[in-house]
Subunit: 506 residues, 2 copies
Amino acid sequence: MCGRCLSEAVRVFKVENIKEHLEKSNFDSQALLKALSKHISEPVRIPLYVLRKLPNILRKKEYSFFVILGKKENEWKVLEIFNELPENVLGVAIDLGSTTIAFYVYDFLKNKLIKKFSIVNPQVKIGEDILTRLHFARKPENLKYINQITIEAINRELEAIDYKNIYYLSICGNTAMYQFLTNLPVDYLFIEPYTPVTNWYGVLEAKDLNLETHPLAKVFIFPCAGSFLGGDIIAGLYFSEIHKKEDGYYFYIDVGTNAEVILGNKDFLLTCAGAAGPALEGGIFDCGMQAEKGAIETVEIDILQKKIKYQTIGNELPTGICGSGVIDLVAQLFLNGLIFFDGKFSPVFFKERFKKVNDELAFIIAFPEETANKKEIYIKESEIKSFLKSKSAMFSMLYLLCKKTGIEFEDIKNFYIAGSFGNHIKVKSAVMLGMLPEIALERTIGLGNSAGKGALKFLKNANFSEIKDIMEKITYLELNVEPEFMKYFSGAQLIPNVNLEMFPLS
Amino acid sequence: MCGRCLSEAVRVFKVENIKEHLEKSNFDSQALLKALSKHISEPVRIPLYVLRKLPNILRKKEYSFFVILGKKENEWKVLEIFNELPENVLGVAIDLGSTTIAFYVYDFLKNKLIKKFSIVNPQVKIGEDILTRLHFARKPENLKYINQITIEAINRELEAIDYKNIYYLSICGNTAMYQFLTNLPVDYLFIEPYTPVTNWYGVLEAKDLNLETHPLAKVFIFPCAGSFLGGDIIAGLYFSEIHKKEDGYYFYIDVGTNAEVILGNKDFLLTCAGAAGPALEGGIFDCGMQAEKGAIETVEIDILQKKIKYQTIGNELPTGICGSGVIDLVAQLFLNGLIFFDGKFSPVFFKERFKKVNDELAFIIAFPEETANKKEIYIKESEIKSFLKSKSAMFSMLYLLCKKTGIEFEDIKNFYIAGSFGNHIKVKSAVMLGMLPEIALERTIGLGNSAGKGALKFLKNANFSEIKDIMEKITYLELNVEPEFMKYFSGAQLIPNVNLEMFPLS
């Protein structure tokens, strides 16, 4: 017998000639368990579905056959037996984001990622923001509806894969996404004290969630640590491996609708979350968009030449500006004297770039003739103010976590930034604006979709105790009961900061 | 919070005011687990079905509600939550016999058996004997059919109870019954080396067997120790508690289609099985029947008065003769010189009682005018011979087990006899015929349906490790590889026995 797959979530073995075990034990199941016991130390269970096939498959081809096993928390379950190995033995990691659902298809036989893609979360049609969806889902029939459209959207993608050979799913998402996915009442999720139904889903049966997979496929749902600290963050931390770091301290920063910031290492994970994100998320600004093709991601203003150079993702004609583009833009506006330290426009130069939008002053980044949809791309003064609030919240959270732990920014080994935001952010601009401390210039690492990558990591190593370890290390700091936070927050809304203690002018 | 039920299979708790736990943990599930942790040391899981109800039920009635938990091997599962306790919280123990299915309805709230009844196994219509059914079930569609009629028959009885409040089933039966119940292929069960698919079913979901119960009800299926040593024997041993006895040695004897004999105590359980049963089972003899109302169970012959006195179960008009009646009858025939020591008739006296049936001499026990169906009740010479084979097999098994272990019959503390046979057998007659050793006269205890009582015991104490302990202690002795057995067997076919070593005339 030999192992054919290196994953800790799904194992494939070839069992050869177990006639001897069969003669000794005189039970088909015992013979199989005996053969497997050489390779697996945890208990193994054989469900009825497999027992029904076992007697005949076991005796064919000179007692040689393939066994597929799936991991549960403290045991393995035999999921399938075959005389011939199927072409595919697949797992799918899913990052169930509120805007986008990302899929990672993993081939357990080849031990590699074979496909990744994403779709728009169908819940968007109910409401862009989560609060709208939560309100909608208060009626049980609406909850059921939102659950169904989510499952259907996922199933459409699974069906396009070889779904009968999907044996394991690993899913992460925020707390609301989880309760929509599993059809749990959300009534108490958006009223104080914001109580989720559960933090630990563990390993469920795909069929209990109506997911289209192999009939015995398992679904691991990453635990969540609180209503504001979802399973996507836990999956991201699991990917970042901060919780294993022995040297120094690390920041994990995730900017989405909210911003979640975690400071720690192998000894602790101190975390807080706040509304730092909105201004950096697509869809909030008039011309805002997600970090996808056509989004302006870097901006350079040459006031003497009266020129603006920008780069878009994919080098396509621009259709809007993404979060990292906004950071770059505001930094350039400030450096070129086009805004004051409080974010107000100074429309003395470059007048052709200013116009009124709904009675409000706005700065034009791209004129209609330059853009993909022939609509100008601009930023309003109120949008800049909104961004400055976001950047202030971000910096104040970093500062507060350091203060609480007595750690200096210099002691931070790395700033891990999650999401595509982390891949595109121009750290120099962020530092210049006082969004990140200066030390971040050299020490920032973009992780990409670390939540999705964490879910994918689970398909490879299924380390339940590591995930429980993360859960145990996490302490959540409630910002609204921290008076210092508001003090830091108001000062940090200016560029770069009014508080010299927080932001020494080095 | 207080426990409301003493069972180890199902527990009912009243949870009161868990607001405090909720405030500390801020997850509904965590609050419930915290409340339960005071009473339960094993891990507790809360399935989605319960999580979906939890947020609303938890907050009603000042945070007070009832929780029903069911035991799995190493953990408890929350099966239901209610604000008001239902009238019934039930379990059903089922002895799935090949002829009769016996039901025991247990009330977990009152901690008592509230109802017992039995039905005819619907498989009987396919064939009286198991071999016919096994042959029939070789075709997958026939297996499915036999599975369906079995499940349907059980469901009809469950539906007549408050089935939605049945939370636990405990089932025992022989190996063939198990594979029919769970729809497992029987192809290798009746060809050498008679390999069952599995020995350990563990705790299954009632819905996976299509049983009509509470949607989350658990089903424990007693393990079997071999194709000839089914879960009914394990359940019977579990009830008898031989495996715990510290003083001396014990026999457990079950006479059904086969006879199974176990010798042992807390240190070992040596077992063998053979075709000792048939002659004592209803349906084999022309006038044979099961030990039920109308069956002749004792016989007294007064050759001088030319009278036969008999007693029937329930004191009704006779309709046939059951196993224990046959033992009594043959003993009386021998004592009155109506048969020789080899079982042949000596039709010198009492001539009016002899007649030919299909060219064979037969003895009439009851004339047509005495019986319920106005048909005479008789025993043929070949039937007496067949009985003598059964009694010989029985005695030879007892003797062989003692020989193998070096134990004398005197060292046997008790002979436990399972089944209604054990309740009706006239031990004096059995000893006189050489079926049981003389010492059995004082030391025989009828256990009644010990298999069913073992299944019922599980609903009370759900002691998985005790059952595994039985499994580990059992050693199975194959009679057909024991040359001594055939030697004992031929000698013991005479009355009482030709082998003085085996049967000293004390």
